[in-house]
């Protein structure tokens, strides 16, 4: 059973068709790419899959369950996570708190337990804080733990965004332009991290990028969007040789 | 239940509704221009009334006082916008809402400092015995309220529809960045919107002062203005006018048929129902942000 199955999905904003009739199948353990020039509808596609935007027609199935029209937080609870193109960190809290917030759905103590610091709450907090600490270390963020997230350079913020998304333990992670705004070195490190996430921790990745170069080294399969429609799909190498794809990118040198 | 009573009530309702309409207009104007609701609008009405009191005390007749108050209010509005609102325009919505409340608070406190809670009165040419028209008795003040609103609405319609600056203001309300790119000085537009809105508020104060007296609590009617604006979806000037008139009518009939308690409940019942069920009002577009 495919992990994520998108079938003939269309997303419209008023009269504008952002995504038209896109289909995609992602199997567990894969690294999938979604590529296209700016304005191709990539972010709208992610927004529709994560429930933040309503789908006009078509179906989205995650783990066999139809999720189109389901509330976003419920979709995340099923194990679908995402990172944001513009990061969306909780800017005035520390990096540690940001990542700690990522563990929300794994904590279950109630309001009364929180208010009176009952045993259940205390235990959950201790355990989760330790997990957050380890996660920060894994992402080389320990030095920034107490820094206000909003003050950090963009590249580091992106790392925090990924770490935070991972705290929720997603089965499938949608990454929206994870290396945009990063330097060469940072981008390479990010790619290495992503590959490690997929290989060693079994997280399925769907990476949205407009930079073909990045996906060349990372994705196994790629779909190309242009003006909201599916242009082509195949391996990155095939896409680089595809004339229609090259034409779409003319003027958008990757 | 005779026709005479129904018509009489309608007149009452429309006249007080006109006042609500004007306050509603004053609220929607700066909101359309700069996205800020001026919760000090009630105190602007009070300010207008007290300014009239001061000028009247200097011996000026009512008709001379009117233009002076309007000019004074416009200047006050522009000063407020430049000095207090524009510097904080980028703060979260929370701050913006509270700032206008604070401005109103300061205005009211300053007024009470000088005049305490006494009620004053001034004379005006339209205060007098009821006019008799067939079977109807018309309070001339009511007529003035209704006529003034008609004139104001017509003037605004012409201004926004046909004058260059009016169109510039509409453009800025739709898309400030595009307006800027077209050479429109949006700073002037914001100032003008606030000046216009302050003038409207002060005008209401001028109308009410001779009729209900001048005291610091006049400003309480901002709530009615808010309801009027919400009925109009807070995005439509025409909607605010219709909203005000509707509210006036609803209140008056409710009070007549069901008593004072019900009358007081009407505005807030309407407000809450609309906000929860149809925030875009009866006229506005369905673009209210819902997360």
């Amino acid at each position: 059973m495919a992990l994520l199955e998108i079938n003939a999905l269309s997303v419209r904003f008023g009269g504008v068709a952002a995504v038209t009739d896109v289909s995609l199948v992602v199997n567990a353990g894969e690294i999938h790419g979604i590529i296209g020039p700016n304005g191709a509808g990539k972010t709208s596609l992610i927004n529709a899959v994560t429930g933040m935007v309503a789908a006009h027609s078509g179906s989205i199935r995650f783990l066999g369950k139809e999720i189109a029209g389901v509330a976003p937080h419920l979709i995340s609870s099923l194990g679908l996570g995402r990172t944001f193109q513009h990061v969306e960190l909780f800017g005035d809290r520390s990096v540690f708190d940001n990542v700690l917030t990522g563990f929300y759905r794994h904590q279950s103590y109630g309001l009364l337990a929180a208010a009176f610091r009952l045993g259940k709450a205390g235990q959950s907090e201790r355990k989760t804080r330790e997990q957050a600490r380890l996660l920060l270390e894994a992402f080389d963020l320990a030095a920034y733990a107490e820094t206000r997230a909003g003050l950090l350079p963009f590249g580091i913020q992106k790392r925090v965004d990924i770490a935070r998304a991972l705290a929720a333990e997603p089965k499938l992670l949608l990454l929206d332009e994870p290396v945009s705004g990063m330097s060469e070195a940072e981008a390479e490190a990010a790619v290495t991290t992503m590959r490690k996430l997929a290989r060693e921790h079994g997280i399925t990745l769907v990476v949205v990028e407009h930079n073909m170069h990045v996906l060349m080294n990372l994705a196994e399969r790629v779909i190309v969007l242009n003006q909201g429609r599916l242009l082509a799909s195949g391996t990155p190498a095939e896409m680089q040789a595809n004339t229609a794809v090259i034409e779409a990118y003319l003027g958008d040198a990757a | 239940m005779t026709w005479r009573i129904i018509l009489q009530l309608a007149l009452s309702g429309l006249s007080i509704g006109s006042i609500y309409a004007l306050v509603g207009l004053a609220l929607v104007l700066p909101f359309k221009a700069s996205g800020i609701v001026n919760f000090a609008q009630g105190e602007i009405v009070t300010f207008g009334a007290y300014l009239a009191l001061i000028l009247s005390g200097l011996g000026l007749p009512y008709l001379a006082v009117v233009p002076l108050v309007l000019v004074g209010a416009a200047m006050f509005g522009m000063a407020t916008e430049r000095l207090l609102i524009r510097p904080i325009a980028n703060q979260p919505e929370f701050t913006l809402v509270i700032v206008t409340f604070a401005i109103g608070f300061v205005i009211k406190a300053a007024i009470r400092l000088h005049w305490q809670d006494n009620t004053f009165s001034i004379d005006a040419p339209f205060v007098g015995p009821p006019l008799v028209l067939g079977a109807l008795r018309l309070n001339p003040a009511y007529l003035v309220f209704i006529l003034s609103t008609v004139v104001v609405v017509a003037a605004l319609f012409l201004f926004f529809g046909y004058s260059k600056f009016g169109k510039a203001m509409r453009a800025t309300a739709l898309d400030p960045i595009a307006a800027k790119l077209m050479g429109i000085r949006i700073g002037s537009v914001f100032s003008a919107a606030w000046a216009l809105s302050t003038m409207l508020g002060a005008f209401v104060g001028l109308l009410l002062a001779p009729v209900i007296g001048i005291n610091p609590e006049i400003g309480h009617l901002i709530l009615k203005g808010l309801v009027a604006a919400v009925i109009g979806g807070f995005s439509s000037l025409g909607g605010a006018v219709v909203g005000g008139l509707l509210l006036g009518l609803l209140e008056t009939y409710a009070g007549a048929f069901f008593g004072a308690t019900f009358k007081n409940l009407v505005p807030f019942g309407v407000l809450i129902l609309l906000l929860l069920l149809r925030p875009q009002g009866l006229a506005g577009a369905s673009s209210v942000r819902r997360v």
Partner: protein, 329 residues
């Protein structure tokens, strides 16, 4: 850290010893300040942390006050039942307001809370058989296990202990996953949803919690003052509450305490210039909003930043052989 704890304990000890030296008037003033602290802590959770504007905080205080008054005076219930009952009633009404309002924000939310405020005010005035209407309501002194708290000292300790409890509860909630959820909803509802945080439900919880604190404070106020009337729970009081947290510092428990204490003391300090009191109060609010957006707590933080800071550097490169242990889960 140690120093801070000692400072707090010293301060609490001083407060506890106050009845020995202070007159009944000053005790009353401190009691008012403590009740305002409870209000501020609750409001800060809703508005400072969760970012939801509420102009009807005074209403919930009033609901708690009238509820306690009715329970003790009308139904003769002991205070230890009346107060929790008031908290529960307030919390339920807070949820009742929060639920339909959960999708609103900014202006529309402010207007809805304003409407609620007016509605509650009207209900209080239109049912004088229960609420005493505009003439107000007398409230019996607190009755703890049959012991009536008559003396100033007893009343003071009653409020003192309950205030500490409320502040601790507030701090606990803020440090818990709920506090983090509140902040997340304020700063980025999209990121919050992506992490599985139910944004709408969190807002309702925040409203309910705020109402509970306000209702608790209201019940205490009724018990301490012995008399309540409608003007105490109007828009002006709501703005006062907002002033506490704006001046003190949004989103901070310390800010709530500092703001509430400073602004309860202020009208007292202005007693000599009574007529100017309102004006000065308004100007302080305006001034803080314009020049100190992060409140007094923010001012202290900024002053601290002026101290020579540790430079923000990249951590030294790790030896390539070491594999980061992402085995956290």
């Amino acid at each position: 850290m140690r120093a801070r704890v000692l400072l707090i304990l010293a301060g609490l000890a001083l407060l506890a010893a106050l009845p020995l030296v202070a007159t009944s008037y000053y005790l009353y003033l401190v009691e008012l300040a403590m009740i305002n602290v409870i209000v501020a802590v609750g409001l800060n959770l809703l508005s400072g942390n969760c970012g939801q504007i509420s102009l009807c905080n005074a209403s919930f205080m009033g609901i708690g006050a009238y509820c306690t008054a009715l329970c003790t005076t009308h139904f003769g219930l002991p205070t230890l039942i009346a107060l929790p009952a008031s908290v529960v009633v307030s919390a339920l009404l807070g949820a009742a307001l929060g639920y339909p309002a959960r999708r609103l924000s900014g202006l529309y939310l402010a207007l809805t809370t304003l409407g609620f405020l007016e509605l509650v005010g009207i209900v209080i005035e239109e049912f004088p058989d229960y609420t005493g209407g505009i003439r107000g309501l007398k409230v019996a002194k607190p009755d703890i296990f049959g012991l009536i708290l008559q003396s100033n000292a007893a009343l003071y300790f009653f409020v003192f202990v309950l205030t500490i409890a409320a502040v601790v509860v507030g701090a606990n909630v803020q440090r818990s996953r709920y506090g983090r959820a509140f902040d997340a909803v304020r700063q980025s509802p999209f990121a919050a949803q992506a992490l599985g945080i139910p944004v709408a439900r969190v807002k309702v919880i925040a409203f309910s919690l705020n109402a509970a604190f306000a209702g608790f404070a209201g019940g205490l106020l009724a018990s301490v003052v012995g008399f309540i009337d409608p003007p105490e729970f109007g828009i002006l009081t709501s703005i006062q509450h907002i002033t506490f947290i704006v001046v003190g510092g949004l989103g901070s428990i310390t800010g709530s305490i500092v703001g509430a204490v400073a602004l309860t003391a202020l009208p007292e300090a202005l007693r000599g210039v009574q007529e100017y009191a309102e004006l000065i109060y308004g100007l302080i609010l305006l001034g803080t909003l314009l020049f100190l957006p992060k409140g007094l707590v923010g001012l202290v933080a900024r002053l601290e930043m002026l101290r020579p800071a540790k430079p923000l550097t990249e951590p030294p490169a790790k030896p390539p052989a070491k594999e980061p242990a992402y085995g956290a889960s």
